[in-house]
Homo-oligomer: 201 residues x 2
C-alpha cells in the first residue's frame, strides 16, 4: 500500500489539483499560498516548487485539467443534439470546483491580470467557448456559413445559461437548454446562411 508520501505521477498531480482548488475555495485568491496547498495535500512545499513557480500557475493547470472539450457526434449529422450536449457539458463543468475558481479570478480580474490572461489561454486551448467547437465542426462540414460564427453567436449558449443562473439562482433544466438552442443559437447560425436585408434583393 502506497503511503501518502509515495504518490507520484498522475495521482500526485491530481491530488495537488484538488488541493489548490479546495485551498482557493477556503482561503480566497488573495491568500492562496504554496504553504497552504502543500499542507492540504500532505506534501512538501519543495515538491510543489519543483514543478510550479507560483500557486497561480498550479491553479491554472488545475483549471485546465478539468476543462472539458466538446466532441461533436462523429458520424451523426445532429447539430441540434450536439448543441444541447455542449450546453449539458457546460452545466456539468459549472458544478466542478474549477468553475468557481474561474469565477473567482474573473471577479478580481483587475487585481490579477496574469491569471486572467492565463485563463484565456486555457479557454482558447479548449475551443474558446462551449458550443463553439460544435458550431465550427458543422461549418467545416459545409452545413453552416463560417461567417455566421461571430463572437456574439459563439457567446449565445454561455451567456444565456449564465444569465439564467444569475436570475433564478438555479440551473436551467433540459427544456430551457433546448429552448436556448432552438430559439437563439439555431436562428442565429441559420441567419448567416441566407443573407438578409436590402443587399439580398
Amino acid at each position: 500500500m502506497a503511503s501518502r508520501s509515495r504518490r507520484r505521477g498522475a495521482e500526485l498531480v491530481a491530488a495537488l489539483h484538488a488541493a489548490v482548488l479546495a485551498e482557493l475555495e477556503e482561503a480566497g485568491l488573495g491568500r492562496l499560498t504554496m504553504e497552504g496547498v502543500a499542507r492540504r495535500a500532505g506534501t512538501a512545499k519543495t515538491t510543489l516548487y519543483r514543478r510550479w513557480a507560483t500557486p497561480g500557475a498550479l491553479l491554472l493547470e488545475a483549471i485546465g485539467a478539468a476543462y472539458p472539450v466538446e466532441e461533436p457526434s462523429p458520424a451523426a449529422d445532429d447539430l441540434r443534439g450536439d448543441l444541447i450536449r455542449a450546453l449539458e457539458l457546460l452545466l456539468e463543468w459549472s458544478r466542478h470546483p474549477s468553475a468557481r475558481a474561474v469565477q473567482a479570478i474573473l471577479t478580481e480580474r483587475h487585481r490579477y491580470p496574469e491569471l486572467t490572461a492565463g485563463l484565456q489561454e486555457v479557454f482558447d486551448g479548449a475551443g474558446s467557448r462551449f458550443t463553439a467547437t460544435v458550431l465550427r465542426h458543422y461549418a467545416r462540414l459545409g452545413h453552416l456559413d463560417p461567417a455566421a460564427l461571430t463572437p456574439v453567436v459563439e457567446d449565445l449558449g454561455e451567456a444565456l445559461v449564465l444569465k439564467y443562473g444569475i436570475d433564478t439562482g438555479s440551473e436551467p433544466g433540459p427544456d430551457r437548454l433546448a429552448e436556448i438552442v432552438d430559439q437563439a443559437i439555431l436562428p442565429a447560425v441559420r441567419a448567416g446562411r441566407v443573407p438578409t436585408g436590402p443587399e439580398s434583393e
Copy 2:
C-alpha cells in the same frame, strides 16, 4: 435657504434613495440599517420609519426609482434602432449605484428571498427586461410574431451585455451593441415570423 432638516417631499426622498444606495455600497447587505441610512442622510431615524418599515423596503424603492423604462420611438418604424437604444439604456443604468445594489441582492439571493422577490416586482413593473418593451411594442404593431417573444429571446440583450462585461471587465462599445442586435436578437425574432423545419413544407 433651506437647511438640511427642511428638505421635504421629492427632494428628501431622492436624498434618502441616494443614502441607502451609498450605505449599501459601504456596509453591504448584511449590515444595512436604518441608523446607518439616517446618519448618512443627516435625518432622523423616525423620519425613515414613518415611511418605510425596513431598510430593505427603502432600498427596493431606491432601485425602482432609478430603473428606466424603454420608450420605443413613437412614430418611427425603427426596430433595430430602438433595440440598440434599449441596450444603451441598459449600459447607462448599469453605471448607476442601483445596478450594483441589484447585483448585491442577486449574489445573496438565498439569504434574502424577500428582497429578491421585491426586485422581481420592480423589474416586472418596468417591462421585465431591457429590449422586452421595445419587442412587445413592435409585436403589437404586427411587425413581429408575438409567439417569438419567449423568455429566452427577451433575455438575449441582457445576457450578451452581461457576459461581455464578465469576460472583458469592460462595457461593450457601440459596434458590439449593434452586433448583438443584428446577429442575435433580430434573427431570433424573425425566426418566429416564418416557421422553419418540416412543418412549414
